[in-house]
Symmetry: D2
Subunit: 498 residues, 4 copies
């Protein structure tokens, strides 16, 4: 079995004293191993990043951006290979992996605008003949810790922006599906990123804690669950670093009585079950305003679920692949068991699904609960599986109160035709990313990604304009020049006998 | 004796169960008492801010800005009274207080631009007929904790920007000189700030810890010493808040051989001894490049110090007033004693100064050390007094290495005529605010204030553009509208028999 | 009779060789005379502006802005006097004059943000150790030519932004109602504007042509009718100047079948008849989608018109005052005569109105035409009077085709509840300022004002961010410093024998 | 002989009723012919652009940008072919052509940022529950007219930005060297630009006048000589279009006594003689401050000229190729004859140069005049050839007065080490693009290019941020929604018997 190692200072490094299996979730087989970095290995990566920093921060932004132009091209040329690696280790359908990659490429495209994005503000005459301007200078060594569900996209949210801003980077991706992440980092090298500018260390808590405690690391970006996000934020900040830590979600979709139900249900199917619901922007809760709406939505979802195809992600004919690991499968299945116990109506039960030839895969069919209430654990917890709950309320305000009372505030959306409903909702809802007839309102790469409440710790969001500010330090220069000479013409005037 | 109380929900509140003396540092007399808020009082202020939030965040930004327009006018009309309060409790010379106030007013002027500053980014067609835009929404209750040395200016760095962004605010100013801060808050009420939008609580660690732990407080701005800044940052972040914490400084001025020495020395006198050196942007260290430069600078400083007038701040003929408290006087004097012990040359000794009629005041004359070395404690520590150290080095690079090796990175400056020296210095020095022939490079109000290294914890600087981002939460909306009807003309077309 | 003169270099100047009467339109009496400047007088104003330029462009932007802070205060303190002058010469109701003044003050508030607005873009390392930045420098002498309908607001669209950008200005206001404009300019002097920075010349085509041809005038802003706008644009550009020339309008309001009719009709009444329709953003055309909508709108408008009060503007109980001049009254009345001839249904005829005690005033009652068609002259021409035409169409697309076929493209609006209708309309309509349930979508002062098609000639709109770009010239500096010395340590290192 | 035709609606079109020879300036041979479009052909191109507009303006900006990403790649892959075409028809040395291409590619890179650049400003609550935002919408058909000296770069200044902003484009390049321009347009098609979005018509005044008069053309960008720029600006504006017209130049370099002369002279050689001085940013005038400086500069320039290699551009060992045409050669040579007559000292005479094997080529050696005065015609006129004039003055102020008195204000630079000299010069000089120790301060692609005085007609500069504003029309939307229903819960609440 191959072992997935680290990329440090431009070279692949084994450090395989400790390893862990990597599984194909469609078959349940261990297909590779991944090295788990020791503290020393992580420190070596940090040292490589530190050493690469001075030359890289002095490289003109346009030249840093040109590495991204070439990198985009390499990502497009290697798209099939990248997606195959994702599907092999994560399980999602190839088409879905391609969507993930495309979103990642969009962040690389944005990074190509570095010279524009790094412009500082210049003020003439802040006082008489005194000028002042701001520069946004690189921080030094920055780090990212990323989750299993988007092994390609989430790292690409972070390090392309970090490095075009002049920083160097140490990435610790998820150890469950490490191969595409590492391969992409190698493509960046091939595109011209100097050794040490981007380093990848695979690992577990040892690696994380080394990044959190090493004083050379200036900033940490994290995406994962809320308890870990809180730990990262508190620990990183206590160590004096800047930290942005994105956590969990429980995104609600409101369906209003005037919604276009065909559009809405079609959108909800993808948002709830795409990638098995293993997305921080997935929609696991539908809030139907009015019982008529609720009945109609549930009926249509049930009909759609009957048509949904579940099977290995390598077959693009499937709508949904397996869950990522055996443990996660058991956890999600446990929530379905619980929901029934809690009194929700299990309208569609995906627990018994069989995928011929893939009996050991971690497949769970789409599940649909109706009459879910806010007191139930299946409502409160982030399940991260193909389980959709329908809650029924009497008014838009009641739907919004429900959302605002939940601990998470990542994404949400409303289905309506009414301008006022949309404006009132988007203005007042305490959620960071809001869709109007858009089920997964993931901001495009030239905006920024961030939830509210316990979905994000820190003040700056991920990628987009906020990433520029996160990955740079403001320096303000105030300048005047003593005027002896020039205006008087004394110093610079030559002696003349005319 | 009067007791300075709190401003909560638009009303003055006593809560004088615990009090502390406020002294006139020019006479050593206790002239007032200040109430020290209990946790309950602070919670009442937070509750008032929480209650005032919904209406205030819905108030159009231009109307919030207009309160600032009126407030600016009231500050100007009440300038003499404000400055008298500052001098009475802090000790600085009236003219210097006026300078502080003017800087504070500049922040109010910037807050008047709220409608411009709060503009979000709008993107048409992020996909086919899909639009997306960002809003920068208010956070809710925000808080500020401010130091004794600028009782007027530092609070005005914080709350005007916080409130024009739609937040409400709880301010805990220094308990050593609380009166001008409170009076200014009352002027803001008079200018039209609704009750509860700005609250002031005087107090000590009890108040600070209540602000740090109350879950209703969304964000904390702090200015003070580095140990407290670290505590605030670690504790506030562990409680899930966004925090910006500005700490200590030890700002170096480099004097190059080609500098205009008359200008430089004149500038250094003000920067080193103005306000007794009790400024986070003061210059307590001069780095002379070359012994000739060093000799010339020391000789001129010595001559200038002989002319410097020390006395009560109420007399604008004085250059320097007393230190803020007896304890601080003793601490600063102790450093002068130590410097001599450590082997520095005490060129000018201000310890024996007498101010007739003010024998009990906390007056210390200007002190000048030459041949200070980086190993000395008087070099490493922030003394915050009228003590200037001259260090001598051989080159610009050596001077820069010295600065970069110091734990603080707040401000610095260079005196030179050479474009290349200035560019190399400003580009590479690891300090946040950099002057070229400008001794106190405090950014103007439309830029932002922030040091590097252990002078600032957090990613966003104080006031200016960064304050807008710090005091707002990004919300990104992605919107499409189902197209049934309009384009087809079915729904909106009336039945017609033509 | 008083003669309204000029303001040149800070002093009132008579130059009354040629004069013209100024009338009170509510009484028909000539109450003042206005001087008509000779070419020499205009040249004197230009010369004063030219002389004042160097010192003013070197004045720090924050100091220029502070003149605007004081000016805003003076405008507020003198509001009643200003409005009385407007009503006395223009005729509009005092409350309406107050609305005009308030809009003007908002432009002054925006001008207070000059230091923020004038920030240039700064790029470090456009090449190795090469920096580049943009400055937005003042042009020099700029000029404005403004119409009778907003004697206070339109000048305030122009010169406050021009002067805070560092320019000096020559204003030629309308000779029909010159007094408020001149008085406001005097307040600006009182606020601290140095002599010569703002000059006012009253006059006619002689003055206009002098401004157009004098090579010292760098830029011209114009608001008026389209034929004159075209003349100004062509002539000014042929003379090498930058020009923005805002012309006529014929703004359509679409009423959709799903509109909230009470709101819509209430909004339309003000938009059609406010200030006698003498506004470039007035709504003289309603496009009703569907006959049911048309019938309902006409019925409600008719009922509202029966309640509308017409009388002298000095009485705030009136809804509408007189037209501005006898000539204009005759012209508007002629259009009403013509409309009937062209076959439109004159639902409400305001021609016979009597205002007791003001029989010689230029009063015309509100007129309402139904079944107007695009072929009619009352549809095609800008009438600029209290005449509202209703056109009926079958679909939103037909309504939009109508608007797009008209030569003007200043403003428009739609009344609907439907998000898609609003989005499709605002995206595709060929009009510069678009309202959704907002009848007069005049952009706020921190956005910019500009029509499309033959309503605006030039590329930059009036006031707001575009005004900054219009009133400044870009200068881009690219800078590197020869590195001999500093890095090598040769030049700056002192000779040493250690 | 091949005939270079037009590119209309994605297809090559001959229209060779009128043709003109294209010469190889290194040999003097006619190698091709170029078609000169009739008015009908130009109208066909405009019609194609008009037809392509609706679909293209609705294409999401990111998709338009992606065409530019692919186009950049194709330009890089075809660089050698492009440069060969440039050298074959223009004469410049291949390396110099590569420099031109690289500058062009940088504009394409900037165009890749379209989604970022097109963001509008969004304001919440401009009034209670009223929002307003700006969109920057495409104009429609835009046009460009470009000069012979940069057949690749100047067109790439224009149309990539125009088309990513959503416009379609008609380009009329120089008829003297049309091939590279046309080939590049074909590469854009290959990159995915839909037919009709970019059209190229070769031609002469017939084509220009058709573009100027056709009402479908919304905007015109021009680069060429000042008399033609004035004609384009006056005529285009009189026809109601927006126009930016860049004209001639006479760029001065100031050499201060403290300049690093080795650097300065090396920089001046390239700036004066590179591309035979046929650049609008070339330096044809050196202003030496002081006779010592003047003597030293002239001596070094003379020595460098002795080493300069002149010959065919196909040999990268040459420093300078031939002039572009026989006519231009004669004109430039005539200026050298005149200079001697006018009394300037001809230090180096390049008139007699022989290039073996290329006797019929248009080669002129580098010429150097000393003691040139402002009264001489060789000083006043734009020669556009390898002729450098040295003027001597006594002070920086005198040098600046000279520059400010010249009719052109395109570029200028200063060589100095002194911060104050640089700041005083860059602040006050009346020139749009200013270098400090940078001889050709052409702004990078993410800034904008524009001269002052008679070097630019219009208010917006070429390429960079200004191009976004030039190629878009501002639309401002103000929106409120009637609130019936949602907040009250009436409309959206379902009937319930609970």
């Amino acid at each position: 079995m191959n072992t997935v190692g680290h990329l440090i200072n431009g070279a692949l490094v084994a450090d395989a004293a400790r390893v862990q299996n990597v599984y194909n979730p469609a078959t349940g087989e261990a297909t590779k191993q991944v090295a788990l970095a020791s503290a020393e290995t992580v420190q070596a990566a940090i040292a490589a990043a530190q050493a690469a920093f001075p030359a890289w921060r002095d490289t003109p932004p346009i030249k840093r951006a040109r590495v991204m132009f070439r990198f985009k091209q390499l990502l497009e040329e290697n798209a099939d290979k990248i997606c195959a690696l994702i599907t092999d280790e994560h399980g999602k359908v190839l088409n879905d992996a391609m969507g993930e990659l495309q979103r990642g490429i969009e962040n690389v495209e944005y990074a190509c605008c570095a010279p524009e994005l790094l412009k500082g503000e210049h003020s003439k005459n802040v006082g008489p003949a005194i000028d002042s301007w701001s520069e946004f200078q690189a921080l030094g060594v920055t780090a990212g810790i990323t989750p299993f569900n988007f092994p390609c996209m989430v790292p690409l949210w972070m390090w392309p922006m970090a490095v075009v801003c002049g920083n160097t980077f140490v990435l610790k991706p998820s150890e469950r599906d490490p191969s595409s992440t590492l391969f992409i980092a190698q493509l960046a090298q091939e595109a011209g990123l100097p050794p040490g500018v981007l380093n990848v260390v695979n690992g577990d808590k040892v690696a994380v804690d080394t990044l959190l405690s090493d004083p050379r690391v200036q900033a940490i970006s994290f995406v994962g669950s809320t308890p870990i996000a809180e730990y990262i934020y508190a620990t990183g900040c206590a160590n004096g670093k800047r930290v942005q830590a994105l956590g969990g979600a429980k995104n609600h979709a409101i369906v209003m009585p005037d919604a276009d139900l065909d559009n809405a249900v079609s959108a909800l199917m993808g948002a709830a079950y795409g990638s098995c619901g293993e997305r921080c922007m997935a929609i696991p809760v539908v809030v139907a305003v009015g019982d008529e709406t609720g009945d109609a939505v549930v009926a249509r979802l049930k009909a759609e679920l009957a048509k949904m195809k579940v099977g290995p992600g390598t077959d693009n004919g499937n709508d949904m692949g397996p869950l990522v690991t055996r443990e996660h499968f058991n956890k999600v299945k446990g929530y379905v068991d619980l929901g029934a116990d809690e009194g929700a109506s299990l309208v569609v039960d995906g627990r018994g699904i069989k995928v011929p030839g893939h009996e050991a895969g971690y497949f769970l069919g789409g599940c649909l609960f109706d009459h879910v209430t806010p007191q139930m654990k299946i409502y409160r917890d982030e399940i991260f599986g193909p389980v959709l709950s329908v809650v029924r309320v009497e008014s838009l305000q009641a739907a919004m109160d429900l959302i605002d009372a939940h601990e998470y505030g990542n994404g949400t959306c409303i289905f309506t035709r009414d301008g006022e409903a949309a404006r009132y909702f988007t203005d007042n809802i305490k959620v960071g990313m809001v869709g109007v007839n858009v089920p997964l309102p993931v901001p495009v790469a030239y905006h920024s990604f961030g939830g509210w409440k316990r979905s994000l710790f820190g003040d700056l969001s991920a990628y987009g304009p906020d990433a520029v500010r996160f990955y740079t330090r403001r320096k303000t220069i105030t300048q005047r020049w003593p005027s002896a000479g020039v205006r008087e013409g004394a110093v610079f005037t030559f002696p003349s006998n005319r």
